[in-house]
């Protein structure tokens, strides 16, 4: 039984280029048509989803994931091709966007519920359960403008979780609320899946995708790159990410000298097995091999970690060695040994660089941009953004007699002595 079918679906967007904003009005009117560029967010994408199957869709930002989401939820229409949906489809996308701050929680349940496609009668029936799930019984008649952001999110998810769809679209919604509420959400989704709901899960969170999905599609530049077993597809995604880069140009348009090059970079886990997936707080080791053509003095080797959004999150640098590295022609390697990974969950793209320590324009010898990708998975050590290594000790309460000063004067004396 096919619940969802895409046949040669393409979606074209028009991108406006605002060439000159200070031109005359006439010029603006004349160029209204001209300054548009076509961009194909999806190109001839076809796939089917069987009933009760959980399909994951992964890919880089801009690969077309959210376009698929928008098409399936009917927010926009395809440029060519068609989509067949068998059953009632609900999307769990950015919950709470339909809330009105002046209305009470109860009124918003009705408003949001009917926006999401529930009938009044359905909402009447489910109201108690929705409020219970959101843990908002006391506050249900308070205007939502007085809600905390956590309450807001809980109510939004709770409404959406009560839709009972035949086909469920999931976005990054699982990353909302506190840990206990998140668990509740995942439990609810697993429940739906068990009851035969077809699920399409679109996410960056590869671990969640692997846990939840029976099949994964990898999108690349608006086309299907791979379609199949979750572990395999996710693995392919990670290795593909490594092909993004290759030798790049120098920073600020400077030529790289290429006198030394990185020949390979390998990551190892705590057991010295080659590995690309790590967990926060666990050890990670990176070995960078290089080849040098002519003697160089005072160079630095770097491994940089970039987030999906392209932000530099962390790096390993040989500068921390505290002494100059002079290299002779030949090969060598640098080892970065990290005792506990501090990065949060997600994909990280790796740049490697070799530069003179005092190079004025940054990396000047060799730079491999986005040459690899490592994945950091969720771990109980990290609930939010940062991980701080620590050791937890539990000390039993000290003996009371020791703790209390026996006499006021004495304790003052001790204090004075201390000073």
């Amino acid at each position: 039984m096919v619940d969802l079918q895409l046949r040669k679906v393409s979606k074209k967007y028009r991108i406006r280029r605002d060439a000159d904003s200070n031109g005359s009005i006439l010029g603006k009117l004349l160029s209204l048509r001209k300054r548009r560029e076509d961009f194909w967010a999806l190109r001839d994408v076809s796939f089917e989803v069987q009933r009760a199957e959980a399909l994951g869709i992964i890919g880089h930002n801009g690969a077309g994931k959210s376009t698929i989401l928008k098409l399936l939820s009917r927010i926009t229409t395809p440029t060519t091709g068609d989509i067949m949906i068998n059953g009632r489809l609900s999307a769990l996308i950015e919950v709470g966007s339909g809330f009105h701050p002046e209305l009470t929680g109860r009124e918003n349940v009705y408003l949001n519920g009917s926006i999401l496609g529930m009938t009044r009668r359905e909402i009447n029936k489910k109201l108690d359960s929705i409020v219970e799930f959101a843990e908002l019984r006391q506050f249900i008649d308070t205007p939502v403008k007085r809600y905390s952001s956590g309450m807001y999110v809980r109510l939004g998810f709770s409404i959406a979780a009560h839709l009972d769809p035949d086909v469920l679209l999931l976005d990054e919604v699982l990353a909302v609320g506190d840990a206990s509420f998140q668990r509740k959400c995942i439990q609810r989704i697993t429940e739906l899946k068990k009851n035969g709901t077809t699920i399409v899960f679109i996410s960056h969170d590869l671990r969640a995708v692997q846990q939840l999905c029976d099949r994964v599609i990898l999108l690349k530049k608006g086309q299907i790159e791979a379609d199949g077993d979750p572990a395999e597809t996710i693995g392919l995604y990670q290795s593909l990410s490594g092909q993004l880069g290759g030798p790049g140009a120098g920073s600020w348009g400077r030529e790289l000298t290429g006198e030394a090059v990185v020949t390979s970079l390998t990551f190892y886990d705590e057991n010295d097995n080659e590995c690309l997936t790590f967990e926060t707080s666990k050890p990670m080791k990176a070995v960078l091999n290089y080849r040098v053509d002519k003697p160089l003095t005072d160079v630095i080797f770097e491994v940089q970690f970039y987030s999906q959004e392209g932000r530099l999150c962390s790096f390993f640098s040989s500068e921390t060695l505290g002494r100059l590295i002079d290299v002779e022609p030949g090969e060598g390697s640098i080892v970065f040994d990290c005792s506990s990974v501090g990065l949060g969950p997600g994909m990280y793209f790796i740049d490697t660089g070799i530069r003179h320590r005092l190079a004025p324009y940054g990396i000047d010898i060799d730079w491999r941009r986005r040459c690899m990708a490592v994945r950091i998975d969720y771990d109980r050590h990290l609930r939010d953004t940062f991980y701080m290594p620590y050791i937890c000790r539990h000390s039993p309460p000290p003996d009371k007699t020791e703790c209390l000063p026996q006499q006021g004067t004495k304790s003052t004396k001790t204090y004075k002595q201390l000073v």
Partner: protein, 279 residues
């Protein structure tokens, strides 16, 4: 929900008259949302306002006072033998409904861009609920018209029953204009900026502050092409003056509404398909 699973096809934008039927069927499925949103509009408008519902009356009332001073005390505009204030109010009542429908509905889609880009529902509901909320205000403001009738001792005749089809026409016209303008506003924000001016021009080219009979005969054929002429003038005639409506202008309004409504709906549905990409 029924057990039968609905099968839906999502296809590229087409432009066929059949879309109207499909659209209306879907609109019917979303009737609960329509009701909830209408109630919501009314509630939100009067929440945290001291005067509350009185605003529905105050708006046409204050206009009535201003126009009475200008057009009755200062300039002597004819009012068909009826006290000018009630003459003006009887026309301001349907006009206020029309203009506030348009003003709010035009912003309806853009002000809900958050929703439009996140969830699907029959989008015409957004502008339409502003029309229905304005209709509620209309009903409230009517109570003041009745009070005026008592005060001035106006005799209501059986011609007042014509008010029902006239009102239906007015709603149809307001709906058509709202659909069109709200969809245009998505692409061209100029519409929203131009609205106050447009409405002012429209009001003065409609017999609100003066009677139709004040328009010179030779211009009248052209004048009644404005579909609101037949609606506003005749509403006042049958309700206040208690005389037969002017069938000619009424027929023009009906024809224009019959053409505009399906056309604007089709246009709206066409814009709706890719609305989320441009809003």
């Amino acid at each position: 929900m029924s057990d039968a699973r609905p099968i839906r096809f999502i296809r590229p934008v087409s432009f066929s008259p059949f879309d109207i039927v499909r659209g209306l069927r879907e609109l019917w499925q979303y009737r609960d949302l329509f009701l909830t949103l209408t109630v919501h509009r009314i509630k939100v408008r009067y929440k945290q306002s001291v005067l509350g519902l009185a605003w529905a009356i105050l708006q046409p009332l204050s206009l009535m006072l201003i126009y009475t001073v200008i057009f009755s005390v200062i300039a002597k505009v004819p009012s068909e033998g009826v006290p000018y204030s009630v003459f003006a109010y009887a026309a301001l009542l349907p006009w206020t409904f029309f203009s506030s429908s348009l003003t709010n509905a035009t912003q309806g889609l853009v002000s809900h861009s958050q929703l439009v880009t996140k969830v699907y529902f029959a989008r015409e509901i957004l502008p339409l609920t502003y029309v229905s909320a304005a209709l509620f205000d209309f009903a409230v403001a009517t109570s003041f018209l009745i009070a005026l009738f008592f005060y001035y001792g106006v005799h209501v005749t059986s011609y007042a029953l014509y008010a029902i089809p006239i009102l239906a026409l007015l709603i149809a016209l307001a709906t058509a204009c709202s659909l069109f303008l709200s969809a245009m506003q998505v692409k061209f924000r100029d519409i929203g900026v131009a609205m106050p001016l447009l409405l002012q021009l429209w009001m003065f080219s409609t017999p609100v502050v003066y009677p139709l009979s004040a328009v010179p005969q030779r211009y009248r054929g052209f004048y009644i092409l404005n579909p609101l002429v037949g609606v506003i003038e005749n509403f006042r005639r049958v309700v206040l003056q208690g005389v037969e409506p002017d069938y000619q202008s009424l027929a023009v309004s009906a024809i224009v509404a019959a053409i505009l409504l399906p056309l604007t709906y089709l246009y709206f549905k066409r814009v709706e398909a890719t609305m989320a990409d441009v809003i």
